[in-house]
Amino acid sequence: MPAHINSAIWGDRFDAWTTLWLIEHLGERISSLNFQAETTEILYPIGYNLWSFGHMALQAIGAFLVVLGVPLVTSYNLLLIGSIWTSALGAHALGFELTRSHLSAGVAGIVFASTPYLYAEAGAGCIELVAAGLLPTHALCMIRLLRAPSKSRMWVAALVLAIIGPFNWYYTLFAGLFAVGFLCWHLIETGTQTLRKPGPSSKKTGLKLALLSLLIAAFIDAPLIMNARRETPKRPSVSAELFSSEVAFSEVRSVTNGAYPLEDVSAEVLQRVDAMQVHFNSTSVRALIDGRFESNPLQSTPGSLAFGVGIVGLLLGGRRTWGWAGIAAGTTCLTLGPFLNISGSLLLEKAANNWPLPYYWAHEFLPFFAKAYRPYRICVIASMCLAVIGSIGAAAWMRSARRPPILWPLVVLGLVAFSQPHWSGDRPAKRPMANTSVDDAFVQLAQKERGGVISLPLHYQPVSTANARTQYQQTVHKHPILNSNQLIRWPDLLRFKEHVQSNEALHVFVNLSRKATPYSVSSDAIEDLINQNYRWVVAQRSVKADRLELAGEMVTADLLPPPAWRLLNSLFGAPTIDTQSTVVWDIENHQESAQPTLENATGIQPISLLFDPIATGFPLVLAPGQTLPLFSGSAKEFHAWILATDAVANLSLRIEGQGIVQEKPIEIEEGHWQYTSVSLDGSGEVDLTLVGRGDHATRIHITQAGVVQ
């Protein structure tokens, strides 16, 4: 990261690109002192309420850095590193408060800041979740308040809890959850007899002030809560029947893949999607036992190291750790979600139906608890408790009769813990960083007249990394865009649907990559777009590929098929910007006509190949000189989307016809789907063959191959 601090980020999911956009946007807002909630920079022209992000404080810190002149990507990376450090420091401070030893507090810092959960969220781009340091800080404040109650400590505890909100509403709820658990434990330890004794006592005062601090925090955050509810609108009930239903599962998968017809998307369907998220985001027993570093945050847990340290701490620390262990056990149980999922299968087994877990009752009946609709995230509290238990255990060990040394075991623990991303599970440290450079076309677009941008294919879900980058590209060209990664929230998606359905062209543009012909767009629809100040249409010939085995059915989501390219050229004429990778059309170049522009794929003949990334996923490997016969017959043009999986790929198209053999090299780029269109210079009979060239075997994936006849 230090070597690429301004050119790459760690994490490539849509949240990362959204966060970059938000930091940049907030930076602009700070510079211009514009603090309105609405923006039309995304979801243009219908607009988006920034409160829907639900968490802006950390991004606002990044925005201040940007305003001070720190480059955007550097700011993001600094926030990420800072978040891990502050998490460690927060846990260290908590450990120190409990043990009065920096060495034993070090155990807490190490364990909490090296949990797989934080790295999975960092990899996903959810840096506000990596910044978990306020959780132990709040726990520290509660402990100090209960130990020596005073009004000043009560205010500090209340303010720390209140300030967590703008950073992250999940953690506000989790901190409240911890506080309630902690007070219950305190109450049990104190005993009812002590409380019943007449007259003031510090224990009674402590409990009262602690409760008061929670109420004050709730009061302070109350004005924000209504806005924060935008992020998590009304949540539906969950049920085991829904989680076991194959039909519901297919429907939800289709919506999240962006393949479900937009016209059929309704509040009911989207609430079902939301309900299913609770199940998908529940920790399975398998993941809990495995406790390794996973790329997918949904499978992340406190980790084996935290559990191991917790077990050791529990036995060494004895009774002092019981309360923490109780909270750790309780919160771990909550991470399992509403129903027990042993294997982590996406479809809940029928046997689990009869055994609702505590999370189910809390989700259904506790006010505000449904906000924690991603149960696995509660493991951050379990991690904190395990870290504290380890710290108490280390202190007990240090203070035992022989006073054994702890410095070297602590150093070893630190080395093991922080090296985990290099060797545990999916080994996230080995993952390449995501390059943040953008195509020159967006720099050129920034120079053009202001107007709304539509990036194609238009998706209503961030179905791929390439698609999710659209929002980040906006920070370069600065024009407002219709596309948004934030349509994962159903009220916004329904507004988007209404807007898109009001215009025939927009309706065609949705999911254009996977939509069957015919496409029909009238001049009236284009005129309507111009009247709404839309100006630019962007499509890409070079699309960064997601890992094929993870992308699944979404491999082709970004790959515009040949009829779509033909439609766009017919609608808008020659592109205004064409960098080979990116094409930009000016909507105002549309030539009005009485008849709608119709594209029904006439003359386009697909070529069926064994190597389809969805049907088989087989790679095509051609050693130098090896060939793959593609087509024999009459053709004017060959086209295909080709992905080179290594840098040495070298490929050409052999065209044999009328006694002439010619070879045309095909331009391919490692890790990118490249749209290849080769004119065959004639309309006679040809034999088309792909030929491996160069000194090494060429490894590619190929899809949507076909010819124009």
């Binding site: 398998r286 036992i289 790679p619 490997v621």
Partner: protein, 207 residues
């Protein structure tokens, strides 16, 4: 309990859990996860029909009766392609491949719904990856009898082992690739027919 005993107990618990119990439980979960529904076979369909006590000549029954010979023919054709590929292995090559079967990595397509079974697609993939795309016609099998004690899966695993461990000459690999592609096509046809049959049987049992 003094502190050393406590530490010893804690370390013991950790070793027992992380070293033995945890991995054992994970293995069991993994194994139970891989258990799919009862394998599809003609006999299973007949058994199911008998179990449901449906012996009448309904339309569904007739459709099933029509599909069964097609399935049987496909199974036979698949067997022929498997044995044709197996026939390419000389005795020495066969023994070598057999010894190396244990060194094969886990099957990539173990639970992939796109494929009928995981070995044939693995043969195609490994052939492509190791030898590149080169095909040549695979002659008909000279011998249809499998060696004693080997089922079709064992035979396919030998072929996969020969490909994976680069034991084949390029000409042989080209024939294996052609044969495995044809096998995959046959399996795909069988999957389609079986899916139809399943649907008929399910509809029949819910009616």
């Amino acid at each position: 309990m003094n502190i050393q005993t406590r530490l010893g107990t804690a370390v013991g618990i950790c070793i027992a859990w992380f070293g033995f119990m945890g991995p054992e439980i994970l293995d069991r979960i993994h194994a139970s996860n891989l258990e799919g529904p009862k394998p599809f076979s003609i006999q299973n369909i007949r058994d199911q029909i008998v179990e449901e006590g449906d012996t009448g000549g309904t339309l569904e029954q007739l459709e099933i009766q029509e599909a069964l010979p097609k399935l049987a023919a496909l199974e036979l054709a698949e067997e022929e392609r498997v044995m044709a590929m197996y026939g390419l292995l000389s005795r020495e090559l066969n023994d070598q491949a057999g010894h190396l079967v244990g060194a094969l990595p886990p099957l990539e397509y173990a639970v992939d719904p796109r494929f009928f079974e995981p070995i044939a697609p693995s043969v195609v993939r490994r052939c492509l990856e190791i030898y590149g795309y080169a095909v040549s016609p695979l002659p008909l099998a000279q011998r249809m009898l499998r060696p004693e004690g080997m089922d079709r899966q064992d035979v396919l695993m030998r072929i996969l082992s020969a490909v994976h461990h680069r034991l084949l000459a390029p000409e042989q690999a080209a024939m294996v690739l052609q044969g495995s592609i044809e096998l995959l096509e046959l399996q795909t046809q069988r999957m389609a027919i079986e899916a139809e049959l399943r649907q008929i049987i399910q509809q029949d049992s819910t009616d």
